[in-house]
Amino acid sequence: MRAPGEMEMVKVLKVIKESSSISTVLFSPVHIGRWSGLVPGQFLMVWIPGTDEVPMSVSFLKREPFRMGMTVQNIGEATQALCSLKQGDWIGIRGPYGYGFNLPSNVDKDLIIGVSGGVGAASTILAMEWARSEDFRTVNLVGARDRSLLVFRDRWRSISDEVRFSTDDGSFGHKGLVGDLLNMELLAMSDHERQRTMVFTCGPEIMMVQVKRLLDQFGVEGQFSLERFMKCGIGLCDSCSASGKRVCMDGPVFSGDAISLLRDFGRSHRDRSGRPLPLKECVR
């Protein structure tokens, strides 16, 4: 049984420009009890009055004073409106929804590798902060198309035992895919080390397909945060359907085993009417 996630109207405290197209929106909800139990990887449905309601990860969560934030890449009408918010504007948030990342026991694992692609970092960063605070060793591999989309650089450094960046165009860090970084990382590890490792990943699905392949190949466990078109966010409308699972309710974070059973993973999404679309048509 999940608790009802009634909408709470919150005033925007501050909008921090992370780059030309990415901003972090901060707010402080009143119903702290509800929000402070949020597990990194869970998401909110965010209402931008007059525009849209869209799913967003929580990228920032601090106590005393209580603050939450989301990091948004401007790719369309709703995200543009979010990035244009001003201090004092009202937005509605409901949630927290879905299953977040599952921190393993320190007995089984000692290393968590975060593999983040683009604005997927908005979801992984909170999870990796958490892992760090629970005394895991943390390695962060962070990729983006170009330097301008590579956010949280200082924050990543401050929470990582090791951090590597990549850009498709080589404008910052390794030139190439973040999957290449993961490949290098795993190659350098012993079998024993690999068994004691867990990977948290969020990013473009095509990137996560590569991550899944590597993890299978090296026998490493992982958790994957998926995106699908979400209307209700609470398991009713089935617009986020992937192979019979509702990403909003059964995910958005899935274990590698669960992902293996999702035939749609890396293959197809659904459009607003529920028709299947090949993945490439959905990739930004």
Binding site: G5, C232, R272
Partner: protein, 312 residues
């Protein structure tokens, strides 16, 4: 000793248990519906299908209350043709273990009939006429509030398909019995009561209706006492002799039995999957079994319509 039997027959269709996944909830794909059956549902209803695909309303299309859900999805669906793969996948996965009912709608009686005609070829076991969706202008509800239209609508659909036809009723009416009677006159094989109740939510900070569609339909626990009353009134009217499938706010075994005792032969479950997930099906089944053992009741049908008021 044999345990109590949960199977039911409604309008000639056999369900292994009386719990059916309601239309529009967790049923966009064949795989989703099969998942509901795997988790314990005795049958499923497809989302409401039209001849042509519809995207539905833009977000927000859902408001969550502690005691219910307000939705205005706007009947998104890939169209009957677009949905045929889903039915196929459902049938091949479930292999006849749980019937599938196709819900249909249109913007005219003809469209309803054409949609029904198109779904019958997909291999579904029955058609459910959605004449009660409050969420799309010119569709659904205004067909379902007028007894004369209901009668014609059911007649047309019956003339088009050889399989059983259910009519789904709205609780937003002066007399649910009049609507039920009209469906009976049109030749319906059964009734589904109820669909959501027209409702809305205004945000006081922005002074805006939250739903893009302004109004929507209320479902969940808040609707239950209304739905139970509707089923009871139909079953006890003395005028309607059709089997009834109850719906509205069922989330526990007591809720399901309440509908059954009010007169429902089976029930549909929608909103409960948000708070209880698909586990609701097995939990309700388990609770019903325990109850039936405690009360020494052999079959679900022994309880149908068993609630009688002192005064009625």
């Amino acid at each position: 000793m044999e345990g109590p039997k949960l199977d039911v027959e409604v309008a000639g269709i056999r369900f292994l248990n009386p719990l059916i996944l309601a239309s529009g909830v967790a049923d966009e794909t064949g795989a989703s519906m099969a998942e509901a059956v795997r988790m314990g549902a005795g049958g499923v209803v497809t989302k409401s299908l039209s001849l042509e695909p519809r995207e539905g309303h833009p977000n927000p299309c859902v408001v969550e209350f502690p005691y219910g859900i307000l939705n205005a999805m706007g009947l998104p669906n890939p169209g009957v043709r677009g949905y045929s793969d889903e039915v196929e996948e459902y049938l091949s996965t479930t292999r006849g273990s749980a019937p599938i009912i196709a819900s249909v709608f249109g913007s005219s009686i003809e469209e309803y009939a054409m949609a029904a005609g198109a779904v019958k070829d997909l291999g579904v076991h029955a058609v459910e006429i959605n004449g009660s969706c409050p969420n799309a202008r010119g569709l659904g509800l205004q067909f379902g509030q007028d007894p004369l239209v209901i009668e014609d609508l059911v007649k047309e659909v019956k003339a088009t398909v050889p399989i059983p036809v259910f009519f789904k009723l709205t609780p937003a009416c002066s007399s649910i019995v009049d609507l039920a009677q009209a469906a009976q006159m049109g030749g319906a094989d059964g009734l589904v009561a109820v669909n959501t109740m027209p409702a809305m939510k205004i945000d006081v900070r922005t002074r805006m209706p939250v739903l893009t569609n302004v109004t929507g339909g209320l479902s969940g626990p808040a609707l239950r006492p209304v739905g139970v009353r509707c089923v009871y009134q139909i079953a006890n009217s003395g005028k309607v002799h059709l089997p009834i499938i109850g719906a509205g706010g069922i989330s526990t075994w007591e809720d399901a039995l309440e509908y059954i005792m009010a007169g429902a032969s089976a029930v549909q479950i929608g909103t409960a999957v948000t708070w209880g997930n698909l586990d609701v099906f097995s939990k309700i089944k388990e609770g019903m079994m325990t109850y039936m053992i405690e009360e020494r009741i052999g079959r679900i049908s022994d309880m149908v319509g068993s609630a009688k008021g002192v005064r009625s």
